[in-house]
Symmetry: C2
Subunit: 243 residues, 2 copies
Amino acid sequence: MIPPDHPRYRSLVVRERLAGSARKGIVSWEGLTAHGRGEAFDYLLGERTTASALFAERTAAALLLSARHPVISINGNTAALAAGEIAALQKACGALVEVNLFHRTERRVKMIEDLLTVAGVDVFSGKAERLLLLSHDRAWCRRDGMYSADVVLVPLEDGDRCEVLAGMGKTVIAIDLNPLSRTARTATLTIVDELTRALPQITSACRDLSQAGEERSPVPVDNHYLLSEAIREMTARLSHALD
Amino acid sequence: MIPPDHPRYRSLVVRERLAGSARKGIVSWEGLTAHGRGEAFDYLLGERTTASALFAERTAAALLLSARHPVISINGNTAALAAGEIAALQKACGALVEVNLFHRTERRVKMIEDLLTVAGVDVFSGKAERLLLLSHDRAWCRRDGMYSADVVLVPLEDGDRCEVLAGMGKTVIAIDLNPLSRTARTATLTIVDELTRALPQITSACRDLSQAGEERSPVPVDNHYLLSEAIREMTARLSHALD
């Protein structure tokens, strides 16, 4: 039990929820340390959606809506933290949602698919194959899902796989709190924001754009600028931290 | 199995070791996310001992050697990562070593004490009491151990407890990769370095100082300066990260 007088009560509660997901095998233990790394960067961001992140989220919405075959690829951490938010985003942009894990077992895939389904996601299930040019479990995905997608949203993605997906010519939208990670630098568009803040923003922008009914023009992306802005925000907070 | 071609093979192996410790209950799941947070800050430090951290490590050695009753307080993460390094430091400075946990059960305390003993630590075991002005498990420690120490080394410490120990007039030496944490700001001396790099440096400095046989004069500490230096290092790396 977390004592309510602990100053960081809210984030400690989130962590206990993650711990519960770890206990069930939904989040791997390495997923827990990955979450911790994100927490540190979020702390440096000021635990808020920055202006540049909001711009990136709206750009992501435009990319998803103008895609021929958009796919959202879910891992354990994303499912544990944001199953409901993924369901809302799917409804707003029509993307396929498929489960792909770094540490893959049929049991874990099924558990995570069930968790998503309960939260309202229409999960693109079924036969996965070793299709990506990667070692080990990371090569697996579904031929008619992520493999043939033109736009993929990959929250909390492994750097190797992000690089491979981008190398295949896909438009890769990453959500990653670390602007220096390989994922951040190799994605087409990186949203430097916390997952449960980012997803509702993308969903909201999808709804706005759908309503506006604008014609789909090519979406310009300057990811280097967006990453620089995120770094600038973090540097500013660090520099003034002891003031 | 981590594929050896993964660019961050070494740190992934460390993480799997932590995962093994988590499986045994030595490291709590919240301990795994705490480790991840440290990894992020270490990444910003450049994963090396900075000049200011080395200075802090040598200062820590002087403080431990000149203490009347030095105590090292060990938690699950510290034991999992650095049991051997703790044993070496104990031999070099003569401190008591006691186990204190945020999530305390008798079984976990015993498991961690055994792990330390196997690694060569002389563990100060025995009856703990609720002695510190803190809620829940964090209040527990040993009357003739940490409670009556004049100098305590607290690697990877909770901010609340660090603040309380410092408030009791103890000289608190923290090892924390986050220079902005409450622990970092409330400790008497903060070593902003990774645990398994820091401990051998302190040990080495203890041996050097012991050999030199210098008279024990009061040890000056400017922790604000040390934290500013750590922040300066991180800011510099961040600013040039996309160059």
